[in-house]
């Protein structure tokens, strides 16, 4: 019976593409290394987790057709505050960074949602502000997070369970959020703002909410980093400014908003993390890592349109679309 045969092409779910890409890269790593220990799994997940959190924050904002360049520096500030305070005042050390993240998201969201300013330039300004704040809070890397936090969050060095569970929890929590009324409204406004407004979505509120959730997730990402490294650093988040956007895009989310899945974004973070080990085990200089990342990014967003272009190149005259726009 034809219909009984299992056909993977029919199994479609959001985030399937990035999941397959990640699975492929993982298989290559396993083949090169001829094995994959619990320690490897643990470090992969724990290294990917902060990026996954910050990228999920970016994802929520991108869903509403926004973008946020300040998430990385927000993570720096929150991680630094946690590393400085949590040893002496556990409650302050945990609640403080979360409140900072919420406030930072609010500060990003208000000019965008209320004044209609372009998000890229607003968050460019707040990026600079939070980078400065991080340097004021903690001029040099330092601080301390008790080892108990690390054990509770990431497990022992060869104990992969908590790391994997963390990523699954992020997926489920973000997936659940997209199904709430807020998530539905957010996807609606990302798909078509004018229609969403006419359907009764309070566009400004929802946009503001997206930036606040983004700030919160960036704060959690910064705290995860602080716990995993037992310290803080004023510049640790800077590398996430653009990688968080890359992870979202590799995760199959268009920057034009409205579509995408949490699973895809977490896979995007895992893909960007595993390329490092891939090169290491393939015995290739780590200099090539950013080339690979760039090529993966282009391959993910450009493969289909490249085929279209090659097919069209003989007989064309297409109607110009409004592509070529930054936001």
């Amino acid at each position: 019976m034809r219909a009984d045969r299992f056909d993977f092409r029919r199994v479609d779910f959001p985030g399937r593409g990035p999941l397959l890409v990640f699975a492929g890269l993982l298989l290559i790593v396993i083949a090169l290394k001829q094995g994959f220990s619990a320690f490897d799994l643990r470090s992969l997940c724990v290294n990917a987790a902060p990026l996954a959190l910050i990228a999920l924050g970016q994802f929520v904002i991108v869903l509403g057709r926004g973008i946020d360049l300040s998430l990385g520096p927000i993570a720096s500030v929150c991680g630094a505050v946690m590393a400085l305070t949590v040893t002496d005042h556990p409650l302050l050390g945990i609640a403080g960074p979360i409140l900072i993240g919420l406030a930072a998201g609010l500060a990003n969201g208000l000019p965008v949602a209320r004044l209609g300013l372009p998000p890229i330039i607003v968050t460019l300004a707040t990026m600079s502000i939070w980078q400065g704040m991080a340097l004021l809070v903690m001029p040099d890397p330092g601080g301390n997070v008790p080892a108990a936090y690390q054990a509770a969050l990431t497990g022992g060095f060869s104990e992969p369970f908590l790391g994997v569970a963390g990523l699954i929890v992020f997926c489920l929590a973000a997936g659940w959020m997209l199904r709430t009324r807020f998530g539905l409204h957010l996807r609606a406004l990302g798909g078509d703002e004018a229609s969403a407004r006419l359907s009764g979505v309070r566009v400004a509120h929802v946009k503001l909410g997206a930036y606040v959730v983004g700030g919160l997730l960036a704060a959690l990402g910064g705290m995860y980093l602080a716990v995993a490294t037992s310290s803080g650093s004023p510049t640790v988040g800077d590398s996430y400014i653009l990688t968080s956007i890359a992870a979202v895009v590799i995760g199959g989310v268009p920057l034009s908003g409205g579509r995408g899945s949490a699973l895809g974004v977490v896979m995007g973070a895992l893909i960007l993390t595993i390329t490092g080990s891939l090169l290491y085990f393939a015995d290739v200089s780590s200099f090539y890592q950013s080339i690979i990342d760039g090529v993966i990014l282009l391959a993910v967003v450009g493969s289909r349109s490249t085929w279209d272009w090659i097919r069209d190149i003989s007989g064309r005259t297409s109607w110009p679309s409004r592509t070529g726009r930054a936001s």
Binding site: I67, L69, P111, L115, G116, L117, P118, I120, I121, V122, L124, A125, T126, M127, S128, I129, W130, Q131, G132, M133, A134, L135, L136, P139, L242, I245, A246, V249, P254, L255, S256, S285, F287, Y288, Q289, S290, I291, I292, D293, G294, V295, L297, L298, V301, G302, S305, T306, W309, W319, P320, S321, R322, T323, G324, R325, A326, S327
Partner: protein
């Protein structure tokens, strides 16, 4: 009689439409710049002297040249994040091939500028033909150039620029005016005239304003957009060559400090993020303003953290002020 009647109807003046003053942003910035100069003069007497102002202009010129391409790309409604590593990469190519000899300058400069042109063309091709969003396309190219530069230099850029280029980047002409300032003035004039008064510039503004209308007018949108990214690539490469000559050597990451300031300068200068409106004149004012702001904070020995916060608030305040001043105009967009 009837004819004159009809003519009078046709020529009857329409109700005056309120048009905002076209150069709000640059004028606002020049006023702020003057205030900053005053503050600088109070903090360090001699700050507003013509000599020091020329030095400030020289400092601004590198960011200014990098911002030419960013302005042109943003006029199409795009953005170029790849200039960071195009600057570093072309500087590395230039210094390695030049190796401190004037005789090697033409070939080294040609290679570096060719690299910038190539990256620009690839960016434009991806944005236009493959319909990849400009942020993603130029971000990916930036990553690729980062890796390519690391591989090319093996992690340590070598060589140096010829004395001639070094003189251009650091020296003065006629004993007083820095050569960089003159070069910047020439390029700025070229960019302003090119955008405002040439056929290519008109096409650029048309594509940025409304790609469908420009397409129906017979403009080859794709070619215009690709050309814009190509100009940005060449501009970034030129910045890389000059900045490497100015610094004495290429260092990795030297281009990172240019990306976001160029975007901030373009937007502060009144160019719309959505394309079609603005020009390089406003960008020049914004580049001078932001450089002056940083300099005043440095001479006030303000720590870097506070400088960065003040810079962020200045950008934020300026765009909010612009939006509030031009709100009426934007409602009709």
């Amino acid at each position: 009689m009837a004819v004159t009647d009809r003519a009078s109807i046709v020529t009857e003046p329409k109700a005056p439409t309120r048009r905002r003053f076209p150069a709000t942003a640059p004028v606002l910035l020049l006023v702020l710049t003057a205030i900053l100069l005053g503050v600088g003069e109070i903090m360090a007497p001699g700050f507003a002297s013509s000599d020091n102002m020329l030095q400030l202009l020289k400092l601004s010129s590198f960011l200014g040249i990098a911002a030419i391409g960013q302005t042109i790309v943003m006029l199409t409604g795009g953005i170029d994040l790849s200039i960071a590593w195009v600057i570093t990469g072309s500087a590395a190519v230039f210094t390695a091939n030049c190796d401190g000899q004037d005789a090697n300058v033409p070939i080294a400069a040609a290679l570096a500028l060719g690299l910038g042109l190539l990256v620009g063309l690839v960016n434009g091709f991806g944005v236009v033909k493959l319909k990849i969003s400009p942020i993603v396309m130029t971000l990916a190219m930036n990553n690729i150039m980062l890796g390519a530069t690391l591989v090319y230099t093996g992690g340590t850029p070598s060589g140096g620029s010829g004395p001639l280029v070094r003189a251009l980047a650091t020296g003065n002409l006629f004993g007083v005016v820095p050569a960089m300032v003159i070069l910047w003035c020439l390029l700025a004039a070229l960019a302003i005239i090119g955008v405002r008064w040439t056929r290519g510039g008109r096409k650029l503004l048309a594509v940025g304003e409304n790609p469908r209308v420009s397409f129906l007018t017979g403009i080859d949108n794709d070619r215009v957009t690709i050309a814009a990214y190509a100009v940005s690539g060449i501009g970034a490469a030129l910045t890389g060559i000059l900045f490497a000559a100015f610094s004495g050597a290429t260092f990795l990451g030297m281009g990172d400090q240019f990306v976001l300031p160029t975007i901030a300068a373009v937007v502060l200068g009144g160019t719309s993020m959505f394309g079609g409106r603005g020009g390089y004149g406003g960008t020049v004012a914004a580049v001078i303003f932001t450089t002056l702001l940083t300099t005043v904070l440095v001479i006030g020995s303000i720590p870097q953290g506070v400088r960065s916060i003040v810079y962020g608030f200045a950008v934020l305040t300026a765009i909010i002020a612009q939006r509030l001043l031009t709100r009426r105009d934007d409602l009709t967009q």
